[in-house]
Structure formats: structure tokens, C-alpha cells
Point group: D2
Chain length 307, copies 4
């Protein structure tokens, strides 16, 4: 199996203006090496977080773009996540005065007084848990924080989730699941990175258990099918991720697009609206990024009843 | 066991200004009869929904207030939900042009064109599912859409969730769970109603599977303990419900209060913030009411590690 | 002219459950004495703000309710603001760590570190300006921060603006203007208070130049006319105040209701929508209260072109 | 004076990845020809709006980028708007079912029923007013809907306002005023377009009086001064434009940055916060774009009191 190693050359925008780092065949299994969200600049709990945030080139360095052979504008890219292995034996998180779900930040601007930033290093313990101390100890549940195709015209920050995917920080972007992304440019220009060893819903403080990783993937294409927002298929469920602000707009997008998906299974729009009222799920993937991400879900057994 | 039957006298505000319908002892098991969200005015799919909405006295008629003996302002009320039985063999839902998560409404005002309102009647089938047709068919997962104590000074519409509980439409307000509510007035003035046979996360179209019900409850009081927002304890988890607009403010409240709760278990605030980042859950209870409700959760096994 | 002095008995909810303090005839000119937003508990810049906020009965003590003879549920109350005189020669403002437009607060909850609260006392100088020092010095532009009728069923905190008016903190509620409020209960139950010597748009830090005052008013009633949200008429303009969260919902309400008003002048709804696109005004009255208030305006000369 | 005519080659992203169309000296007066927001594809009230929206390359075609000689990353660009002349004798507006302040749209997604789209053509009448009919008739108050420099890494849609300026739809971007923009790349990469013959606050229906125009400008640079958000100087006032969602975040940014600006005039941050509470202005520029824009203002006479 081919391994794609960016060798230090990462992207900080999801963009058609970047040069592809590799061409990938449909159906080919590949392994991508990904950098952590802080470009591995944090190495110790004593590092200066503010300085690192200032000097890094950007958040969430991306491996990519991959040029997917056979993917053309107007298609849908189907990404099979086969496996995620840790790239090292530790993860890093931190708490920052001006970034996170419960602090003022660039968008929700306030006249606030900073508190002491704090870095947390976690290491695998012998039971395979990521451990900071006896209390901060979490199971290995890896996923990719960012996954995207290139938008049609924009170059979007790797901090941001939107229609193309991006920094959704959605724990369902995990091994065993399939991610569907819109293809806006020929070759799709696929990006991924920002792997997390684990993350709660909302990514509350803004920084999960950040790791380098080896991501094993396989691509397919659905020719001529256009989707507007990212979709996820797990063994049991169909999901749509909506990313917007305020959070209710992200929720509206997620459910409205899930209704659209259900109509592809033969549902009348109003009946799908009714069905999701009684049996849909709706959780928050991130409450910290430039757009918030909400994930709406329906079980396959319900969605497929009309087939 | 005592059964409290309002005999047609329901409340349409959560309010200290209402006269208690009964006094209840701590520890006493009681059964409350509750009316459905439409005061049982909808009886058929051919009823005129617009007219019914106009002529009803208000949404979500409440059984109560109950005067809880021994509950004083400044305490916390602990409500054990023992059981919910259906009050009849059918439930009602509907889709309305100007109310719901994907329609313009009183708050998100638009110049929109109405579509045809639609009423859906569901009946228990022989497998105990609520069935409209072969496709719209859902398992019985009952809970109380509204549960509240009286606010300190305000009289709040039974459409609205807030600090006192109220119309949270939270599926975790269900048998087997314990709900903690702030006591703002002596006697607590407890209200409940608006039972749902089932509901997805978000209550997407704004109307769940509305039923009349028999709700079996028991009350305890934690003396001198003040909480600010409703808390829920399930066998495995601790939860807080935040209700506000925009939805991110509801999420902030839910997680900030869950951090507060964790400090009661010995957690440092920043470490709790960190722990919830990696292992918290955050789902949407309702995206349709005057305040949206978000539910933040942590597993008991994590929360209690510091004990 | 009659002067209504509450003699220390103020209301802290806008509510039909309060006892009227006086009956007022239509057309009668009356003077109301109003308390300041802090119940005059702040007297010096050295006072302990946190303690005062804790011990006060509530924000914005209201003079009222007045029972307006001849006003019945379903009418519109027309309030002529004739004059506002200061009740004393000083005003108070303050900056607080957990309340205001640029601080975390009860709704936008954060893990933030408090800064030093600060009280500012302003006194009239010889040019009639409210002066704290050579730099913080502002002209006398008085208005009533709160003005309301009783809601139909709810008792709403005097901190909150909504359909009934309330704590809109709208600088156009000033002498020379007419305020239209919905009448939901017989007698209207009119409240006012929270006068400001001056205030910018948004009431940024959450506390304006708070004064006691003598408010001279006169009431009329428009029989059988129902309005949904507060309207304001100045010599040159028609305005609607929408109060909601997020702020865009307040804006939508204000403009949607202004379109409704324009249809009363003969405008087609779509043409009114078009006209306001090119010539409407939209400013923020408050960005600090439980609901934000936005004010949409149109010039009378444009609105009345269809007459 | 040099006239820059794009000759049909317009940009649809604000981007450093575009090739500059001209180099401009500091202090040089130039005239730019700008296209209208619909690329002049709408020519009649009978045109098919939906089809035109589908087939246009993008919204708000931009003239640019101009490479400003002497502007380097880290400077501030100072744009003097000298004059705006109409490029033709008519303007176009329209009302659309899925775009605008009072309709569902791409972000605030709903299950709504479309109404009939409508195109409005306005022509200059003999009094120099833009006239559709006797009622829809508005004075010529031209400004540029879009004005921007290139963002540091992103390529941002010409529909969107943000830190770099962009589609703010702010009526104060008008002749006689100075616009300050951050310079993120050498040469600044200046863009403008989307001129409006007039616009109300909020740009309610989403489409103002769209015109082609001749824009006369002059550039200066403030070396080594970094600003974060666009600033505007009129003869009497200083303003900052914040663009975000929800709208309160745009308001917070605008006022927080205006406080920053006041500290450059010698104000203590808390005193500036206090001053804007009593004398700031805050209006809505647009309530329809991917970010909403709010404009916070302070009079020069107040801001400069500390000098």
C-alpha cells in the first residue's frame, strides 16, 4: 500500500489553488500521514502556548490535496475510512483564554481578562487509554477533525467547516464510516488532517486530544450526483453535517439536508419531516470553530422503509 | 396511591400566582393525569388546525401546581419519574406552516407563503408501536415535555423552557431518571404535562407524538442546596439542560453548569472543562420553542472519579 | 395635574397579577415619579456593586400598573410622552464583569475571570451636561428605558423587552414621540420606569446614565385595533421595535412588522419590502438585555405616499 | 486621470491568487469602472431571475485586484472615495423566494414554498431620483457595496463581508469618506464593485438599487500599522464595521474594535466602553449576506477629547 508523506509541506487552506501532492486511483487503498493541529510545535506542558499560536503558519495543517482520478466537478466523492493509527504515543490538548466554547474569542468579542493558559499532555497507558493523570484518562476513539474537498472558487481556512467539509470536528468521521463530499473541481482535491485521539461532542475547550496519525482510506466516486453538504454513512445510520452560525442554522441545514437524503429513498418531504421529528438525532460536533457543526442522524432501518 | 386529576382545570403559565391543586408529601408516590399539548382539541386528521391553534387557551396545559410539603425557597427539588402510562390509545402530531424547526415562525419572522397544514394521528399497533402507516411507525418511548417549578417572580408561558425547567422537550425527562429543579418559592409549585409517546432530538416539526398520560412521580428535597438550571440523573449519566437563544448560548449554559456540577464531585474547574472536551455529550432537545434546549452529559464513571 | 408617586412600592414584573396603583382617564395629563434602575441603592463610586446587585429586589423598578379607563383587551394604547424631568441632579452608570455587551453574562456563559467593577457618578454641570470628568460628559437626552402594558398571561421580568414593550432601552421612547402598545388585559396595566439621562445605541456596557425622573404622559386608545409589537411615531418617522435573540430575529420582527404597518397605509406587502430595502433604517436599541431590541424605521413621507 | 476598465474580466473571490489588473501609485487619482451585482444580466422586469442566478458566474463581480505600490503586509490601506458616478441611467432590484432578510435562504434553511420572484427596474427621473413608479422613488445616494483587500491566505466569496472588508453593503462606504483596510499581502490587492444607487440599513430584501458605476478613488498607506477590521472615517465620525453571525457577534466586534480605536486617541479601555455606552451609534448595514454587518460609530468630537 502506498503511503503519502507530505514531508513537512502542509496546506492551511482548503483550496483549488494548491498543487496536488499525489494522484490516487479510485479503489486504491492508501495511507496518509497527518500532522497535529499545532504542527507538533507543542512538545511539553511548559511550552509557551501564546507564542506557539502566534508563530505557527495556521491551524490544522492538511495533508493534500490529493487528485482523485476520475472525480469530476458535479460528482460525489465517497471516502471509506478504513483505519486510523496513532503517529506517536502521546496527544496534546490545552486551554486558552481567547479560544474555546466557554471563552471570549475572535467572533464573540469581549473585554475579558485572560486566565493562565494551560497545556495538557496525554500518553498511552498500558491499557491503551490516553492518560494525563488518574482522572483525565480517555479511551482511544480516533477520528479525523478535518476532511474536505476543494470548494468551487473559495480558499477556505483549515479552521473552518462548511459545505466542502473542512474542520467539522465530527467524531463520526471515523474508521468504519463512509464520508460523502461534493466534488467542485476536477480531481476533487481531497484534504485531511487534524486527527483526534478522542473528542467529546462540541469539542468544548476548542482543542481535542491532538495527534499525528496514519490514516488509511479508499475513494470511490458517484458519477453525476451532486450533494450540497457532507454526508456520513455508518453501518447503522445516515447523517448530515451542517456548519453555520448561529448554531440553530447549522441544525436547520443538517435536518433539511437529511430530509433531502430521505427523499432519495422514496420519502415524501413532509413525511420525512414528520419521521425525523419522532426519531431523528441531533448532536453538536463543534461549538468552537468559525462555523458550528451540528450532525443530524436517522437510522438506516427507518430511512430505508420506503425502498 | 393518590391520583391527581385536574378535572379540566389546567395552567398555561408556570407561575407562583396560580393556586395549588394539591399538597404532596415528600416520598409520597402519586399519579398525575396530564392533558395533551393541544388540550385534546385535535381528534381527527380532518380537523382545522389553524382554527384549533387560535381557539385553544394556550399550549401545553399543565397539571399543577403541586405544593410540595417541606420544599422551601433555596432548596432543590428532586423528582423521581417512576412511570408514564398512556392516557389513551392514540397520539397526534402535525405540520404547520408557521411553527417548527424548518418553517418561519413568531421569532424567525419571514414573508412566507403557507403550505397545507397536516395532522397525523398515530395509534398503538399490536406490537405496541405508535403507527400512522407502514412507514411512520415509532416505538413507545414516553417522557414529559414539560416539567417545572414556579420561577421566583415571573409567570412564564408553558411554551417556554428556562431556568425553572418548563417546556424543555427533553427526551431524558423519562421513567427511571431523576430531575433536579430549583425551588424558588415555598412549596416549589410543581407542574408537569405535555407528554410525548416518542420524540427525536430537536422535536423537528415542533409537535411530537402528543398524548394524554398518567405520570407516576415521587418527590424529595435537598435542603439548602441551590441550583440554577435543571439537572438530570440517569442510571449512568449526569446531565444539565440549558435553554436560551441562539442555540450556542443554550450549549454554553449546559456545559458551564455541568462543569459546576463536576466541581461538586471534587473536580477543579479547568480540569472539568478539559474532561468534558474529550468525553462530554451534547445534543439538542428542542429547536422549536421560544428558547432552544441543549443537553450536556457526562458519564457517572468519569464525573465520580474524584470522589 | 395629578402626580403619581409609588411611595416606595414598585413592581419587578410586567404583570396582570399586580394591583393597579391608580386609575387614569383617557386624555388626562399625569406625572409619574420613577425610580432608577438600581432602586437608588448606588449613591457613591465607592459602593459595593456586587453586593447591591445581590440585595436589590430586582432590576428596573416600575411605576405602575396604571389602570387606563376605557382600554380593553384587543385595543391599542397610544402613549404620548410629553416631558421627562430629572428627579435629582445626578446619574449613575457602572461597568460589571458579568453583565453587559462585551462581557460574559447569564446567557452567554463563560469561564471568565472578573475584572474590577467600576461605578461612575455623573452630575449636571452648569451647561446642563451630565459630567463625570472632562472627557465623560454627555448632553441631556432623556428617555424611558422601560414602557409596557401587561402581557396576556405571563408576568415578565422588568429586565426583559418583548411584545408588550418592557425593557427595550430604546432612545426613541422620548418626549415628543408617541408609543403604541398592545392592550392584552382590560385597563391595559401600564408600567414605566428606568429613565436614562442619555444612552447610546446598544446600551453597550448594560447600564446607561440611570436617573430618577418625573415623566409627564397622556393616554389615548385605538378601539378594536390589535398590534403585535410596540410601535413608535416621531414627528417624521414610523418605527417598530422587535425584541428577540439572536439579534437578527429582532431585526426580522422589526422590519416584518413595519411592513405590516405600511400595508395599513395602502402599500402592497412586496412593494413595502422593496421600499424598506432602499430607504429603511435599522439600529440597535439594546445588545445587553434578555432579548436584544432592534428598531426599524421609515420616514412618514415615504410611508404615506400611498394615502 | 487613469481609468481602469476590466473589459469583462471580473473577480468572484477576494483573493491573493488573482492576477492584478493594474498597478496604482499612492496618491494617484484613478477611476474604476464597476459592473453591477448581477453582471448586468438583468435587463428587464420580464427576465427570468432564477435562471439568471443559476447561470451567472457569481455575485458581485469585482474590479481588481489593484496592486497598490508601496503597500506591504502589515500596513493599513487608506482609501479616499472621491466620487461615484452612475455607469448607466437605470438600476435594478428584485425580490427572491430564497434570498433576503425575510425569506428562508442557504443558511437559514426551511421547507418553504416559493412565491413569485419579482424584478424592479428604476430609472433616473428629471429630478435625479431613481424611480420605479410614483411610490417606489428614491434619492441618489451612491456607495460601493464591496470594498476589500486580499485576505492573507483565504480566497473569500464576493458575497461575504469579513475582516478584509468585502461585501459589507455599508452605506457609509461613500464619497467623502475614508475607508481603512488591513493589508495582508504586498500590494494590498484592492477590489471594489457592487455599487448601489441607494440602500436602506440592512439591505432588507437582499438586493439594493444595483448599478454599474465609475468610482473615483485615491490611496494612501499607513506604514507598519495593523488593523484587524475595516474602519471608516467621515467628516464627523469614526466607525468600525464588524461582520459575523449571529448579528450580536457583529455588534460585539464593531464596538470592541471601536474601543481599540479610541485607545489610540488616549482613552482608557474602560472609559471608552463607558463613553460608547452613552454616545455610541450602532446600525445594521446588511442582514442578508453570509456574515451580517454592524457599524459602530462615535463622533470625532467625543473620540478626540483626550488628544
Amino acid at each position: 500500500m502506498r503511503t503519502i508523506d507530505p514531508n513537512g509541506k502542509y496546506c492551511f487552506v482548503f483550496s483549488r489553488y494548491e498543487e496536488p501532492v499525489a494522484k490516487v486511483e479510485l479503489g486504491e487503498e492508501i495511507t496518509l500521514l497527518t500532522e497535529d493541529a499545532y504542527s507538533s510545535l507543542i512538545q511539553s506542558e511548559n511550552d509557551n502556548l501564546a507564542e506557539i499560536r502566534r508563530k505557527r503558519k495556521g491551524p490544522n495543517p492538511q495533508t493534500g490535496p490529493l487528485y482523485i482520478e476520475g472525480a469530476e466537478a458535479g460528482d460525489t466523492l465517497k471516502v471509506h475510512i478504513i483505519d486510523i493509527e496513532p503517529g506517536r504515543d502521546w496527544a496534546v490538548s490545552n486551554i486558552h483564554s481567547f479560544f474555546g466554547g466557554l471563552t471570549p474569542n475572535k467572533f464573540t468579542r469581549m473585554i475579558n481578562v485572560p486566565f493562565n493558559d494551560r497545556i495538557y499532555i496525554y500518553r498511552f497507558d498500558k491499557e491503551g487509554m490516553m492518560r494525563h493523570d488518574d482522572f483525565l484518562r480517555f479511551p482511544w476513539k480516533p477520528f479525523m477533525g478535518t476532511i474536505a474537498t476543494a470548494p468551487p472558487m473559495e480558499a477556505i481556512s483549515t479552521a473552518t467547516p462548511f459545505e466542502h467539509g473542512g474542520n467539522m470536528d465530527c467524531p463520526d468521521v471515523k474508521p468504519g464510516n463512509i464520508i460523502y463530499l461534493p466534488v467542485a473541481v476536477d480531481g476533487a482535491y481531497f484534504f485531511t488532517g487534524d486527527c483526534h485521539a478522542a473528542q467529546g461532542e462540541g469539542e468544548l475547550c476548542g482543542t481535542a486530544l491532538e495527534i499525528t496519525a496514519k490514516v488509511k482510506l479508499k475513494f470511490e466516486v458517484i458519477k453525476g450526483k451532486q450533494i450540497t453538504w457532507p454526508r456520513i454513512e455508518s453501518p447503522d445510520e445516515y447523517m448530515v453535517v451542517g456548519s453555520a452560525r448561529p448554531m440553530e442554522d447549522a441544525a436547520r441545514i443538517a435536518y433539511a439536508e437529511l430530509i433531502e437524503w430521505m427523499t432519495e429513498f422514496g420519502w415524501d418531504k413532509m413525511d420525512a419531516y414528520q419521521a425525523l421529528t419522532h426519531a431523528g438525532k441531533l448532536y453538536c460536533a463543534n461549538m468552537v470553530d468559525p462555523n458550528y457543526s451540528m450532525v443530524a442522524k436517522v437510522s438506516k432501518s427507518l430511512a430505508e422503509r420506503r425502498l
